[in-house]
Point group: C2
Chain length 322, copies 2
């Protein structure tokens, strides 16, 4: 049986060089690459799956569809996803898909043509009708159907935790502040957890929601401040919602945290140089990114997964707003 | 002479569909694509450069090498670069190269193998020895040699502007605060502009620099605060340097802007929800991104460029620190 050593010997290079050529990872001089490829052909060397993929010209590229790489939560996620892919020699193709559903469909087509090996998607489209169950796609946060594996933070527990922290900080009438997407999304569980925990604790609460996306901040926050003046705690669906609320509350001389305690979700502030540092439910971004890629590899290899949705635990990160 | 219409007729599809197949943009059903490709082959249709590239299997992929996509300046840049590439049907491959020089060399090899059409690089390596003049690479910010086209903000004018704004705000002894990379970089002109303008205006000034990267903030800022207690203005080489200085100054009861005026560089804060909003020299990120891609296209097409370095004007964005 032929081994990688035979190839290396015939090409007159080290075994590591042959491996780099086969895996298409690391720098190899073009002429060296040619010698190795010639030796592989001459010997008709097809030792294992890696080499077979190489001969079949399987793509070592994964597409990442994000609403916008500019958003700090998504750029942190992309950072770790690229890092995890790099460990196996995969490359990252990046797509800002916000407001452009046709871009997402285009990447699905690339997947069908084997131009990308898999897709990681934070997608706003309902692509359910376009895909089959076993296609190598892993979704983050947004959970459309049973067909697509989803990795998410534990939004429900996050909502419960936020309610408890607000009460602990002294809030007696906390509000949930969010927006509702047309298609069901995992993030809606943030409200569910908040409401269930308020009921369980016998706490008076408010739910304030508008359709997503919120396009007019003046109306959104103005209406909340006008109609819910008695609220003394806010759990905002994201840190950005929290930051915007705090700014507008300040304009009306409502002090945070003295008058109103605020808890956000995400943990986009990775340092304490800008204020307020929002007290928040921190998503385990790095773990979510690495798990997503590990699950994607399994799907690429054709393995079946145990679960449809993988939920990772969240933590409360105290800041300056509770 | 054959036209795209002949292909469309033979394949039994619309002209737009043929165009989408040729440009590899937009969704086309696999079977339709096959029909179009067959018609192209049958007619031996090679009408223009776009189609020729298609037949030559030229890559429609551009690699973007960034130190880290997580940094807000780079994620804004990546956002606009992807958007500009998308207009011509190019895809973006993203690589966090910080601290991994071998990754940059790997992408250079992909370029030589036509797996990517071009590279946009904010690179820390001196890749001068590895590349030829006409290779489709455009660098942002970091300018190593005459071989690589560079797009940058006008760092020198930015430095002059910062000095003037500090003086205008009342500073009588401003300091430049930065770090020095081993290889020459365009960003060093920020200090040059600052110093030249201070000399021209007859203003007393301080230059405080340490080798890049700054690894120990305690030492870096501690030493500055200890040795330069008489400074009443700071021009920090980036907004993050400014933010870190402000935080540490506050711990020593130095108020910004009352005691010390601070101007940063970049403009990473794209909203005013977190404080302090740093007064800063704002880089024209969107323009830099779009110009970079337009120049890269010219290099891909083999056109020669007028300049080695393209400098885009900066503006002063007043914040809460002057």
């Amino acid at each position: 049986m032929l081994s990688i050593k035979d190839v290396a010997q015939l090409a007159g290079v080290a075994v590591g060089t042959v491996s780099r050529v086969i895996n298409n990872s690391g720098a190899v001089k073009p002429e060296t690459r040619r010698r190795v490829e010639q030796a592989i052909q001459e010997l008709n060397y097809v030792p294992n799956e890696v080499a077979r993929n190489f001969k079949m010209q399987k793509s070592k590229m994964v597409a990442l569809l994000l609403p916008s790489i500019w958003h700090p939560f998504f750029s942190e996620l992309a950072y770790y996803i690229e890092d995890e892919l790099d460990r196996e020699g995969y490359k990252l193709m990046l797509c800002n898909s916000s407001g452009k559903p046709e871009k997402e469909l285009y990447y699905l087509e690339m997947l069908q043509q084997n131009k990308v090996a898999g897709i990681v998607g934070i997608t706003y489209n309902d692509i359910e009708s376009s895909v089959s169950t076993d296609i190598p796609i892993v979704s983050i946060d947004r959970h459309f159907s049973k067909k697509i594996t989803c990795v998410t933070s534990d939004n429900y527990e996050g909502g419960r935790l936020a309610l408890r922290e607000l009460v602990k900080a002294g809030a007696r009438k906390p509000a949930f502040m969010g927006s509702v997407t047309a298609v069901y999304s995992e993030t809606m569980k943030r409200r569910e957890g908040f409401v269930d925990e308020a009921k369980a604790m016998g706490v008076d609460y408010v739910v304030y929601e508008k359709p997503d996306p919120v396009t007019d901040d003046d109306i959104y926050y103005g209406e909340f401040l006008r109609d819910h003046a008695d609220v003394d705690g806010v759990f905002a669906i994201t840190d950005m919602f929290a930051a915007k609320y705090i700014e507008r509350a300040r304009e009306q001389n409502i002090r945070v945290p003295e008058d109103v305690k605020v808890v956000g979700y995400d943990g986009i502030q990775d340092h304490a140089y800008f204020h307020p540092l929002i007290s928040t439910i921190r998503q385990p971004v790095e773990e979510m990114a690495r798990m997503t890629i590990q699950l994607l590899y399994k799907k690429i290899r054709g393995e079946s997964l145990d679960l449809e949705t993988y939920r990772l635990p969240v933590t409360f990160r105290p800041g300056e707003t509770t």
